[in-house]
Amino acid sequence: MNKFTKPITFFLAIVAPLLIVTLVLRQPAPDNSLLDRVRAEHPERHKSAVDHSKFEVLQKDFTNPHEITAACLSCHTGRGEELLHSAHFNWEREAFIPGRGVTYLGKKNLLNNFCTGVQSNEGSCMKCHAGYGWSDTTFDFKNPYNIDCLICHDNTGTYKKASGGSGYPVMGPNGPDFKAITASVGFPKSENCGTCHFEGGGGNNVKHGDLELALLTAGRDVDVHMGVDGMNMECVDCHTAENHVMKGRYYGVSSTNTQRLHCEDCHTSVPHTESILNEHSIKVACQTCHIPVYAKVNATKMYWDWSTATRKKDGKGYETLDKDGNVLYASIKGDFVWEKFVKPEYLWFNGTADHHLITDRVDTTSAFIRLNTMNGDYSDRNSKIVPVKVHRGKQPYDTHNLTLIQAKLWDSEPGKGALWVDLDWEKSLEEGMKYVNLPYSGHYDFIDTEMYLPVNHMVSPKTNVVTCRECHTRDNGRLAGLTDFYMPGRDRNKFVDIAGQLMLLLSFLGAASHAALRYQAARKRNTTANH
């Protein structure tokens, strides 16, 4: 017997396990110096290397925006060629889609369930085109002088394209000061990107829900990257470009697993100190846990019912608003549902998508039409669970030809069949289909459609992430809709669970009744012995 045996055993048996458990459960103290360190490492970004105000070629009174582009390209040789091949200019990409072959798809020709599509509405839609003069099918995509450099490179915040101007800015005395603008061109700021990407679908935050004007002024709680009290990052800090091709994909229009932007590009694939969290990244995208809700400041449109459009009050179109100023009904567009602080829905996604083309047949027996299909499932090695905004709607389709319909919505003057001007569905659909040169039977109805928009922005600080139990829970968890795999805490084998509980119960009852019988027998023996 050693006098140390007892304390050592005590330590090993009781103190050590407790110590280990305490150490494991301990939360590391937050490192507040991290933000300061990153700030110090990146003091000033995207500083222009030259002073454009010194260049003679820009010291002109521009009367025509094409001249500005020509002036830019006179020094920036080759850049025009890059733009002519970019999706920002062509609004389509070459992509191989299984079952379809090589396709040329993009905003140029795809349908969505917001404003349905750009064709026949270019005059208005091209306010967001990085070009000048795309008003109809005759637009020249080969002419570099049709490129609009300023929509992305204006750093004054004063450059504006005209409404209904086919992409042209307001010119003349009411137009912006082009000398000042060209004197200070530089890297695109978030404001530049936001002009189109924040206001897609007809207004702020209508389309994406995680991309909106508030990102320019909000704090880290809304978006940990762009928060003004944090790193205050610009869009192009992540969406880097090479030869004017930006990284990052939007699968409402994209189809292939290329040129994507991943959180891992900066954060690596093992960003957590806990390996069990890193292991999740094999099947779960970062965004799934780190974007618990989107539309954190302003509401986003979740539902758009075109079927109720064209109602009139006193012979005129009208609008009703909610208390925040969101349009609930507009005669030109129909009924809307808006939501704020929206929990995303979740899909398996491998980076490839398919789209419902205007020539595809509509299956009226299915509950809804998927305008874009994000491919993936559990067994697909390249798939991860991603958060999506599902935008649901009702849009017109041809009940005889069984295709969706491109509606003509906009025109500069009445009587041309534009729905927003004339409030007449029949003519709008007829003109729209005539424009895209596709058959239209004249018979239409409305059908439910869904669109899937991946949620990638409004990343929350790490103190506000989706917790384990929000997915690992029996009922109504965030991933309740993804049923093609076994998830601990959510799934169980009912037979094993019931049989197991029964076995535990029987073991307990067996022991208890055995004990009771022993007790009884012992008492009986004692009584007999005492007599």
Binding site: P17, R490, M503
Partner: protein
């Protein structure tokens, strides 16, 4: 009348192993069923952490225990036998109520009755290995898939998880019955005391027979293992 004499039945390591295994299995069951969403106590993340930690603890303990069993020859305790098997079953079903004597004499070289031999052997070569293997697969099944190692790719957690859950129910049922059977020794508490102190009162003639046999190597007469005055802790 049978005479009883104290004997040193459970060695120091054996007791250390037994009680740590008991503690770890309790922790594993408690956190495991929390992960299974049977209840909420520590929180899911903590339950997973503690469960994984306890799992490693148990695996290390098992490695030491295997070493101990083979180096001491104690593994022979678990060789199954049919001798007295029926008598032992009959004792638990009938004899125990009549205060009948235990049909199997407990000795230092044969601590387990034939039923215990069978059950513990089953635990050692079937149920605990199944839990350890399914548990390790549970922890690591993602790696082959994440790294495209096709040959050992499993792909799906479902079977692993269901086997692990079923094993947990079986182990827990064993623990329940095991806890009750503590009370079926010579007296209500003699089994418990024996596992805590190592000492148990065994029938005298058995000890006499025992004393002639050499002790476990390194635990020789020098230290005076047998006899009532021997130290409680070794």
């Amino acid at each position: 009348m049978t005479k009883y004499k104290k004997a040193y039945v459970y060695k120091g390591f054996e007791r250390f192993w037994h009680w740590n295994q008991a503690l770890l299995i309790f922790i594993l069951a408690f956190t495991g069923f929390e992960i299974h969403s049977s209840y909420s106590f520590l929180g899911f993340a903590n339950a997973v952490k503690v469960h994984n930690l306890a799992a490693w603890g148990l695996i290390i303990l098992i490695v030491f225990a295997i070493f101990w069993h083979f180096t001491t020859g104690e593994w022979k305790q678990y060789i199954p036998t049919t001798k007295n098997l029926k008598a032992q079953a009959e004792f638990y079903l009938f004899g125990i109520f009549r205060n009948a004597p235990h049909p199997t004499k407990k000795t230092v070289i044969s601590k387990l009755n034939p039923l215990q031999r069978l059950v513990y052997l089953g635990l050692k070569i079937l149920f605990i290995p199944v839990m350890v293997v399914s548990g390790l697969l549970y922890m690591f099944y993602r790696y082959p898939q994440g790294n495209n190692i096709e040959i050992i790719n499993i792909g799906n957690l479902e079977v692993i998880a269901i086997v692990h859950t079923a094993g947990a129910f079986i182990l827990l049922s064993f623990v329940l019955v095991h806890l009750y059977l503590i009370t079926t020794g010579h007296t209500l508490t003699s089994n418990l005391k024996a596992m805590i102190t190592g000492w148990e009162e065994l029938e005298e003639e058995e000890i006499a027979a025992e004393e002639k046999k050499p002790e476990v190597p390194g635990k020789g007469e020098k230290k005076g293992v047998t006899g009532t005055n021997a130290p409680k802790w070794r």
